[in-house]
Each structure stands twice: as structure tokens, then as C-alpha cells.
């Protein structure tokens, strides 16, 4: 009896194995029924798979996040570093753009005046504890710079070279309280002396008591003998207020410098000035206000029917 059971079991096993091999053979021979069975199973399972997908999406995301936690952290760290690098590049780029803009305006100015210039980057600001207004530039005697040469920026006069070293130079800014420059008013050619006040404004003292100045007048450097320390014609500033003190011998005025001393990145040292005085050619042109067009509407009254009948 027991042997009979075992035999039946073995027979069943053989039948099942043969059936499996039969199925494999049918599939490998490409019988269509097998493909139909598979596609039928796929069709039957699809709704369950869609439902499972809807239910499991939050769980999958959670498991996925946990699985990739370390990788995500590394990725965030990499992106943070990359972001920092790009920010630094952007700042550098902005700085370079500013320097290019300053250099361009300097070249415009120097080109108009036919100055021969040496451009230099501002590498240090003078210490405020020294009570002087100075800057250090990265060009020195090796670049042809000498003491008492005029230093300009795109907008106008910056200062004068005070000390020269092999690869650098110290420039006294026009804002320094000890700074004095002879100026003339563009147009009227009246002359005076401009003194630094330690800020972005300066004090103008006219030499002739018969002359008058007004707000908005433009001041240009008068020039020195052999163009040192000041080359002629360099724009200096604009009169912002005029003082008419009753007891004063001559008029005085407050002048705002054209150069922006708070944002000096690139400056130029005038190493050779032209023999001819550029006169007022470098004076900045006053902005012309854009006229606002006036709209005029013409209305022609239409005669009413009642008026025409009367």
C-alpha cells in the first residue's frame, strides 16, 4: 500500500516535470496560446498593479528617500559647494564688469584729451587712522609712474601720485584735506583754488572778486607747469552751492567731485599730457531733459438735429 502511494507520487512528479518541459518546448517554439496566456495574465493584473501603485506611491517615495538618504545628503552638499562657487564667480564677474566699465570711461576721457596713461588697480585704501585720504595702486616706477603725476578716473580727477615704489604707488586723493588744485570754470574761464575737505565735496575759493559763479558750473583742472602735478582740462567737479558772505573779499562755493571715491576700482595715471590744452573739451555734457510730448485733442461739435431745424 505504501509502495503504491510512493509510486503514485513519483508518477505525479514525472508527469509534472514532463508537463513543465512540454510547456517550455511550446513556448520556445513560439506557440500563440502561450503568448495569449501571458497577455491575459497581464491584463488581469493591470488593475491591481495600478491600484497598488496609487496606494504605494507615498510609501515608495519614503523608502526611496531613506535608501538614498546618504546620496541625497552628498548631492545637497555638492550642490551647496557648487552654488557657493558660482556665487563667488558672480561676485568676481560683477567686480570685473565694474572695473571694465571704469576703465572704459577712463579710456574715453584719456582718448579725448590725448593723454598717455597707465591704468592700475586700486589695491589698498589708506587707513582712516592716518587722517589722510590715500589709495595704493598696483603700478609703480617700473610702469613709468613718477611722483606728482595726475591720477584720473572715468569721471574726472582722482588725485596726485604722492609716493612711488617699484611696483606700486601711493596716491593722495582729491578729498584729502591737504589737497589743493588750481581750477577754472568751464565756459567763463574764471579761476580759483579748490581744497579738499575730507569728504566727497570740496571748497572753491575764487581769485577774482569781480567774477561770479553759479550752481551747476563745471570745474576743470587749470594745469601746472610741465603738466605736473596737474594736467590741464581734467574735469574736477560741479558747483553745488555758492556762498555770498557779506564781508568776504571773493566768492566761495561748495563743489561735488565727479569721481566717486567710494568705488574706485581702476584708475589711470597720466604719464604724458599733450602739448595743446584741451580747454573745455573734457567737460561733461549737461544732460538735456527729454521733452514730454503734449497731446492736444481737437473736438468739433456736431450740430444737433433740433438746432438745425430752427
Amino acid at each position: 500500500m505504501r509502495n503504491g502511494g510512493e509510486n503514485r507520487g513519483r508518477l505525479l512528479l514525472v508527469i509534472l516535470i514532463v508537463s513543465s518541459l512540454f510547456l517550455i518546448t511550446l513556448d520556445l517554439r513560439g506557440v500563440n496560446v502561450i503568448d495569449g496566456l501571458r497577455s491575459g495574465t497581464h491584463t488581469a493584473l493591470s488593475p491591481f498593479q495600478r491600484g497598488g501603485n496609487v496606494l504605494l506611491t507615498p510609501v515608495k517615495n519614503f523608502v526611496n528617500d531613506i535608501t538614498h538618504l546618504g546620496r541625497t545628503r552628498n548631492q545637497i552638499e555638492d550642490l551647496r559647494k557648487q552654488n557657493q562657487k558660482l556665487r563667488e564667480q558672480l561676485i568676481l564677474r560683477k567686480n570685473q564688469d565694474g572695473e571694465i566699465e571704469q576703465l572704459k570711461s577712463i579710456l574715453d576721457l584719456a582718448g579725448t584729451a590725448r593723454f598717455r596713461i597707465v591704468s592700475a588697480k586700486v589695491i589698498a585704501q589708506g587707513s582712516s587712522l592716518a587722517f589722510t585720504r590715500t589709495i595704493t595702486i598696483d603700478a609703480g616706477s617700473g610702469n613709468g609712474i613718477k611722483k606728482n603725476m595726475t591720477v584720473i578716473a572715468g569721471n574726472g580727477l582722482v588725485g596726485v601720485v604722492k609716493e612711488v615704489f617699484a611696483n606700486s604707488a601711493l596716491v593722495m586723493l582729491a578729498t584729502d584735506p591737504a589737497f589743493k588744485v588750481g581750477v577754472r570754470i568751464a565756459g567763463s574761464q574764471q579761476i580759483g583754488i579748490l581744497s579738499g575737505l575730507g569728504s566727497s565735496t570740496a571748497n572753491l575759493q575764487l581769485l577774482d572778486n569781480q567774477t561770479t559763479i553759479k550752481v551747476g558750473d563745471i570745474l576743470l583742472a587749470r594745469g601746472s607747469i610741465n603738466s605736473q602735478p596737474f594736467v590741464p582740462g581734467v574735469p574736477v567737479g560741479r558747483v553745488t552751492s555758492v556762498s555770498n558772505a557779506a564781508g568776504a573779499v571773493t566768492q566761495s562755493a561748495t563743489v561735488r567731485y565727479f569721481a566717486n571715491f567710494g568705488a574706485l576700482g581702476v584708475v589711470s595715471v597720466v604719464v604724458k599730457a599733450p602739448k595743446a590744452d584741451p580747454r573745455d573739451a573734457l567737460a561733461p555734457v549737461k544732460p538735456v531733459p527729454t521733452p514730454i510730448p503734449t497731446v492736444t485733442v481737437f473736438v468739433t461739435p456736431t450740430p444737433t438735429p433740433s438746432a438745425s431745424s430752427n
Partner: protein
């Protein structure tokens, strides 16, 4: 009696198959994951007689062969599961030390899972199925084994209870 057993067993396997396809297969587990359907089949075989185990292996193999995620020919899983289920039942049937000890059952199912996967790879190679890289294959096999070691103890009480329900064997593990 036969119809009742067949009906209950078929329903249980169909439900596990759907759960495997609709839920487990959609979760990305580390190191390849696991198959609750395969674990159920091997556990069921370990708790059954060799004849029943072979029949269960045949049915489970057919279902696995019909799975959309299977790349082998129809009958491939069937052949392997018939042989493996019969072998498990043959070794464990009548040995209460084996069946009555959950640890032995877990280890046997894990070992069987590894043998099943290796057999599937070898026969697949003979049948011309393109295999992945060796490292990927090893990762999948080892990962499956580890997952099976983790999941089988969780499934074992439920599968034993369902087996008792189907066969009324009153076996206690």
C-alpha cells in the same frame, strides 16, 4: 474534501501572487528585495507531503511563469519549483525535528530560495536567457537570501495557520 483544499490553496496563492505583483514588486528594496510568493510556496511545500508539494510547486510555477515580470519561457519556473518543492517536502516530511522547529524551517526556506535562484540562472543560461553581470547576480541572490531570512519568520505563523486551515492538519509550530 479535495475541492475544498484546492479552492483554499488556490485562493491563498492567487492572493499572494497579486500582492507580490501589485505591491511588493513596486517597492524598490535595497539589494533586490524579496518574493513573498516564493517564500509562501517553499514554506507551503515544507509543511506538505511530497505529492502535494509537487502539485503546489507546479501551480505556483505556472503563476510565476505567467507573471509579466518574468523573462523566461513558460514552464521554466514550473520545472524548478516542482523539483524544489518536492525536494523540500521529501526532506522534511516525517521529520518532526525539521517541521516542528521554526528555525530549521526558516533556514531551509532560505537555502531553498538560494538554490531556486541559482537553478533558475543556470537553466536560464542553458535556455539562452541573457544574464546580467556577475556582481549584479550575486547581489540579487545574497540580497534575496537576507531578505528571506528577515521576512520568513514574519510570514511563518500566518502561512502555518493558512496551511492548517486548508489541510486541517492541526499542526502546531
Amino acid at each position: 474534501m479535495f475541492l475544498r483544499r484546492f479552492g483554499i490553496t488556490g485562493t491563498i496563492f492567487a492572493l499572494f501572487f497579486i500582492a507580490q505583483e501589485a505591491i511588493i514588486n513596486q517597492i524598490t528594496f535595497p539589494a533586490g528585495g524579496f518574493s513573498i510568493f516564493l517564500i509562501l510556496t517553499l514554506l507551503w511545500a515544507a509543511l506538505s507531503t511530497p505529492v502535494v508539494a509537487a502539485a503546489v510547486g507546479f501551480g505556483a510555477g505556472i503563476l510565476l511563469d505567467l507573471s509579466p515580470s518574468t523573462s523566461g519561457p513558460l514552464g521554466h519556473w514550473t520545472l524548478i519549483l516542482v523539483l524544489m518543492c518536492y525536494a523540500i517536502a521529501f526532506f522534511s516530511y516525517g521529520d518532526e525535528n525539521m517541521r516542528g522547529n521554526p528555525l530549521s524551517l526558516i533556514l531551509m526556506v532560505t537555502l531553498a530560495q538560494v538554490i531556486v535562484l541559482v537553478s533558475y540562472l543556470v537553466t536560464g543560461f542553458l535556455l539562452g536567457i541573457t544574464a546580467t553581470s556577475l556582481s549584479q547576480t550575486l547581489t540579487t541572490i545574497i540580497g534575496n537570501a537576507i531578505w528571506t531570512l528577515v521576512v520568513t519568520p514574519i510570514m511563518l505563523p500566518a502561512v502555518a495557520w493558512l496551511h492548517d486551515l486548508a489541510f486541517d492538519s492541526r499542526m502546531r509550530i
